[in-house]
Amino acid sequence: MNVSLYLNHETWVHRLDGRTKTLVVLGFFGLALCFSHPTYLLGILALVVGGLVAAQAGMNVKKIWVLATLLVCYSMMLWPFFVEGETPVPIFHVLGVTWEGCVFGFGMGVRLLIMVLGGVWLLSTTTIEELAQASQELGMPARGGFAFSLAFRWVGILMGAGVGVIQAQRSRGLDISSGTIVERIRKYVPLVVPLIGHALRQTNLLAMALESKGFHPTAQRSFHRTGKMKRTDWVVMVVVGLLLGVSCWMRWHGIGTLDVRF
């Protein structure tokens, strides 16, 4: 079962170095955190959407749009109840809902959307191995990166095994959709136990297989992929860096932020 969001396209975004893409996505997050006013955040959202278009990542956006919509709606609906303001909203004013709160909620919804889509942009254009390499090259511990990529690889296998487990237990009459909530939760035991058992029985074998292929925690790893920082990488990083610098300056001067009280 393939679980990765990576899309194998030949775009200039895909050709960027893993480090560039990681730093750019951190830049997106930073930009989103600089502002709380929806207008400015919508501008950043347009930038991220442009990145997704350039990366031909529409298929992944389609996959997560329900989730993204839910996240944004929740943020938009909940914040107004916790933000004070001066202009009450008719009907809801008894609950303390104000226009300022609604605007802030909308802004936070857009911020959340920028972050989600930024993550999708990175994962659509970068393989897990490239991410692990980039994180190591950016100073993250190599073994952590390796465990991450190994785990990612195993998620697909376990999800495939999980489907097998569900089918095997359903074939013995297990119906997880019936009963009270407690009963339904209890019914997960026959599903979760074989899956964990299946994984743990492989622990020693997997460790032996890794060392048989030359892996050891103390062995130094040198990456051989061809990814090198090119001129486009530097241009992209400078552009995002400049944007971030300007945004920080604006934030410092209170431009693009809403003055709200909680």
């Binding site: 393939n2 990765s4 969001l5 194998n8 996959k63 943020s75 909940l78 911020r111 972050m115 989600v116 993550g119 897990i128 511990p141 073994r143 952590g144 465990a147 991450f148 990529s149 190994l150 785990a151 690889r153 195993w154 998620v155 697909g156 296998i157 999980g162 095997a168 359903r170 074939s171 013995r172 009459g173 119906d175 407690v182 339904r184 939760i185 209890r186 035991v189 026959p190 979760v192 136990v193 074989p194 899956l195 964990i196 058992g197 299946h198 029985r201 492989q202 622990t203 020693n204 032996m208 890794l210 060392e211 048989s212 292929k213 030359g214 892996f215 050891h216 062995a219 040198s222 051989h224």
Partner: protein, 807 residues
Amino acid sequence: MITQFACYDPRRWWADLVSVWQDTRLIVVTAQIAAIYAAILIPFKAGIPLIPGFVELRPANAIPIVASLLFGPAAAWGAGIGNIIGDCFGTLGPASVFGFLGNFLFGYLPYLMWGNLGWLSSGQPPVVQSWRQGFEYGLICVVASSVCAGIIGWGVELLGLLPFVVLAPAIFFNNIVMSLLLGPPLLMFLYPRVQRWHLRYEDIRSSFVAQGNLRLSEKPSFVGHELSPGIADARTHGSLLDCKHLSFYYPGQQNPALNNLSFSIGPGEMVMLLGRSGSGKSTFCYACNGLIPHMIAGELTGSLQVCGENTRVSPVWKRADRVGLVFQDFETQLVGTSMEAELLHPLEYRQPPLSFDDIKRRVSSALSSVGLEPCLDRDPMTMSGGQRQRLVIASVLVQEPQLLILDEPSSDLDPVTRMQLRQTLRQLRDAGMALLMSEQDHDDLQFADRVILLDEGRLVWEGSPDALRRDPHAMRNRGIRPLALTECFEELVCEPLPLTIDEAVACAEKMNLIISPPAAVLDDTIRLGEPASLWGSQMDPFVRIEDACFQYADRPILRNINCFIYPGEFLALLGANGSGKSTCARLLNGLLAPVEGRVLIDGLDTRTTSMNELVKRVGLVFQNPDHQIFADTVWEEVAFGARNLGCSQEEVAGRVHESLVAVGLPVEESAGLDPFSLRKGERQRVAVASILATRPAMLIFDEPTTGLDAEETDRMMAMIRDLNRKGHTIVMITHSMRLVAEHAQRCLLMKDGQIVADGPPREIFQDSALVQTASLEIPLLSQFSQRWGYTLLTVNEVKASLKPNVR
């Protein structure tokens, strides 16, 4: 049994966190916990959203606490990484940092707290068997859940994404409910088993420390991968593998797994290690690249020199450039998410680093050796089983080892893929590589230069493959199935016994014999014990499949399937890997519904009938019994299906008894027998018994003999035949043509999602071209008898049909 518990020393907290990254097994456990956590997050949604998109009631939330109490700091890292992986499916962002931190503590605090709560602690192992343990567990759940919820809630509010007062209570509720409801039963099941498998954090850490001490006390003969001149000399001129009086005992075992083995293997030689399950084949493979003694504990005596170096001297990972090992479960060896990552991974640990040109050459050469297209971006999970296995071999070959060891490489492969593997191995041998291949049947014997037969760890036979193949008595005595063609002439005075069809024909001609089958052969009395005319095709069909089509996403899997299955039939579903056999089986028990057409079981349409009704009629025994076994005892496991159908206690007891007897498992001991302690063949029987307890009229077996040796296969097939005789309709998925020839009354031949032939095996096997189009081959025995115009299926049929030529 749960025997001992030593509580954790809080002063070690930092050292423990660091130690996880110093041992391969702990890194693997970390990755596994992360993968389990993420994998359960996705397909196991309970559909009970608390805050949709943010928090849903999911069984995964019990994993960090359960894993923490078993694997300590590895669980902390695993829970943190697993949460980030979960976020990689759509919600990766700055909040993931707080998600990591919250889950890290959720997975670490329980380990730190258990046994360290003063008078509140139970002083017992972390399982809920008494109220004191329950109290301690509950308290830990509350603290760990609160901390996790607090950190994530605070972080998410800090980012301005959602208010703390909304998110934190929801996360706390989710964590606490799942931990309290699911944690205790999971721990009850897992703790004793993890303890028995020596996988608790304390066990792994202590073995790691012991191994570290062992390594420190050794003086390595060389550094990195540079060889001393003496070793290089041995590599060039001596034998590549040389073992003398090699013995090995697993810890606590009285009988040796390897017993005084002495033999050698030279360059360019292909040696087959043959033997029944448990004969020591895999153990020897593990010894060859140093897994024994470096990663598998036990008592090793004698000497084993591989590539000129004693295997005790340097650790496994430093030998990877000289000795390559392909494991029986080859999927375990796949670590990358693309072909390129898979092939580069072993090379990235070489010291000094290889040049780019050298890497390119090695990758290209390894791929061409195994005949794979260089689609380097392709995800291994999208490849067929055979392709994945060749990729694993290629990932070993990039290291350019001198000795390649393959542990039962063809057990899961269909005949065509096996043939491709043989060709690959022959090419490697011809290129000068030494190969050691372990197998438990004779199918690949003729491709070896030499055979070594192991039994109970001893070398009991060594010589040329042909010499062994012409000695059916020796093979049978050691649990290896003899060649069917040779067996036919065993009782006749024919020297030497034939190995090929031409030899068998020559032998028959020399003895003036012809094939002239009696009526009892042609009406299947000899093969199946009763004439074919007694089968139930005159009755109403039990299963009707009418124009059934099925597809996953846009990919068609089954197209216009039409077939009837009659009560009491023994039907074989044949076809190459990926031909649609397993999907067809899942249509038959209602797990999948056809997208077009319909499937009627006992008159009930599977699209509109509940699973519980269908389960009473059709039972599906999956290929891997471990996908269903979860109970503490065999009795409980077998009772599971009957309980799900709402049977009373007395009824359940009666059904369990009846099912255990039917599969030949001990009834009395079943209440105290742990299913996980059984061998695969026995676990398969437990799986069959648990299906039988639902009393289905029809049983479907998905590859029931995969991974079993000749004796276990015979026992399994005898059981299935017995169930058939007792009235169960049997559908068996297999690519073993021998099993079909010996047991099936009728077979369906599938190719590319369609049924291309339907009829008795004798009729289908007459058309070898048709069988070959489905990537299968008819047995040699049938090909031999076809020289006289008959299609015979079993050794007994040929024996009964060999008559003197009176003309």
